[in-house]
Symmetry: D2
Subunit: 186 residues, 4 copies
């Protein structure tokens, strides 16, 4: 038992998106989870189903690490791919914690709850990547835009999981707001 989170992971990525997804989005999201783990990113999410479950399933296939911020008091309600369960039984206010627990954010599809999380990621200065391509929902709609004038960057649109990871690796090399030490080897 000799686990050093900060030496194993470059950072934690908040994954936000729809809780009911079709098989194409599920496949893409599992692929994203695998790539995140392979690239030494931990995952934080809402801990339940759809995008949340698929990304964690992918991550655990590759020995990744997953945090689930669930909206219930009972820890056993998280999906089975969650390592660390954090109950935040605060209705929609849990969305704030999902965003703050990550160093950056990736949106996949998404309805009103996901859009609120993109807003919070924007307000808290987190880099935001939005999946597009065959993807519906708010991630496609918001890609390439600015939510308001407080930031000069835009929400970065990525057509594939691979493109999202490349952007993430670029962001984690350059963004001074990310405070975690980045290990040079693993």
């Amino acid at each position: 038992m000799n686990f050093e989170f900060k030496r194993k992971f470059k950072g934690t990525i908040s994954i936000i998106g729809t809780s009911k997804i079709d098989s194409a989005t599920e496949k893409l999201t599992i692929e994203l989870g695998r790539l995140l783990a392979k690239n030494h990113f931990a995952i934080s999410c809402g801990g339940l189903y759809g995008v949340m479950e698929a990304v964690c399933k992918g991550a655990k296939m590759e020995g990744g690490f997953t945090i689930g911020i669930i909206p219930f008091e009972d820890k056993s309600k998280a999906n089975k791919y969650i390592d660390v369960v954090i109950p935040v039984p605060f209705s929609q206010a849990r969305n704030v914690i999902v965003v703050l627990s990550g160093d950056a954010c990736i949106a996949i599809e998404g309805k009103a709850g996901t859009l609120s999380e993109m807003c919070f990621a924007w307000i808290y200065g987190k880099p935001i990547i939005a999946l597009t391509g065959e993807i519906n929902g708010w991630s496609s709609k918001m890609a390439g835009t600015r939510i308001d004038d407080r930031r000069n960057d835009t929400i970065y649109g990525a057509k594939t999981a691979q493109e999202a990871i490349e952007k993430l690796n670029e962001v984690f090399k350059s963004n001074p707001n990310i405070t975690y030490d980045m290990p040079t080897e693993f």
Copy 2:
């Protein structure tokens, strides 16, 4: 001292919008506050400045009633037009309470925080009115749209304060989700 809130007010309207506004938006928002009070609607808002202060100023000109959900522990930080101050020092999670304290919601301009509040109003089933016309920001952008497919109605766009009030009076006559008794006289 003989005050019966439920007999005096048809309901409470959450007013959401930008915290820094120009004089045209201020004038419109004060007018909205006056009309809300005259039409027996109480106001809930974030308790600070810009849209929040202007709508409360208007309401108090007409003897209306105002609730300020401020993001600080200290009640004295609310603007001077607030009757009841509720401190919710929970960062952006206060937005959830601003929305839930109202029976319907009116958006005026708005940046990322306001957009998150429109999302919550949508999720919680609150009727939403968005001011348009000369107004910038998310209220104009979202007017006439649905945030996702969980509801069949759209965000109602209103060009003037008067039009917003007319819509509100219509909604409060017909919406079965609004549980407050509506007094027939005042």
Copy 3:
């Protein structure tokens, strides 16, 4: 319609206590509610039953004003004596808002939830009055004590509703932490 909260009320008192009470405690709590209203204090509480309902019932008998911070999303779940309902569907975290919405705090009986509220009132610097006499629970146990060394005062024990009001009137004359203007006439 010409209601000025700050001119009518000296301040808002958070009433905390047990949600199931016997008839003796109910009688005492109704009496407290009446005296609070007669002495120009508004009431904030958890908005549900037991102590919360009894104090609001008493206050409304005398035309007082009541705020209910309920732990549900649905405003209609407050007891019928509540004027302003603020939903805070954040599980036990709602206790923080019950305390912060008042300028001082009165505890009546109380189990673990009430004790947590006394802790928060202590931390946030609110004057605390605890009912004793025939009263069981944490209000009697904590009366006359300090929760920790951050404050020099003690939780004030009051044997009757009248004694609690006298203490409250004294506190509101002398406590510099209470920032509301106190009207000299009503």
Copy 4:
């Protein structure tokens, strides 16, 4: 990179206590952290100083795992022994999350904030161990007592770190409320 939280840890223990401690309490708390890690318990705490830092320091000496629920938006404000930082910038409401993130709770000294956490652990049905012996504060005062009548057990007083661990191992064998699978080997 092949980390399986549920296979490595029997559960997560919320450690609550004073943020400024003397060297005797620090030594005891570091010892507790070492024993928790050696006995395959992960730690959740408030992520800052005093008891929180000492227990995490001890745990990391033995390769343990630590979660810090900090009251700030900025993840970099956690102490350096925290593996996973969860920002909960919700003032005292963060205490609720500290308690819910664990499967049981150990209190060491403690002022009003710790007492509020013991109340929440009691309400949420978490087993509670309170350190006594040379220890001051609420952990000694509450040991052996029941906070109210909703539970039949008492807060378990432990004079040493070793005794706390023994009780914890006993609890994790017998308590049906702990839902995590307990690995039989590591």
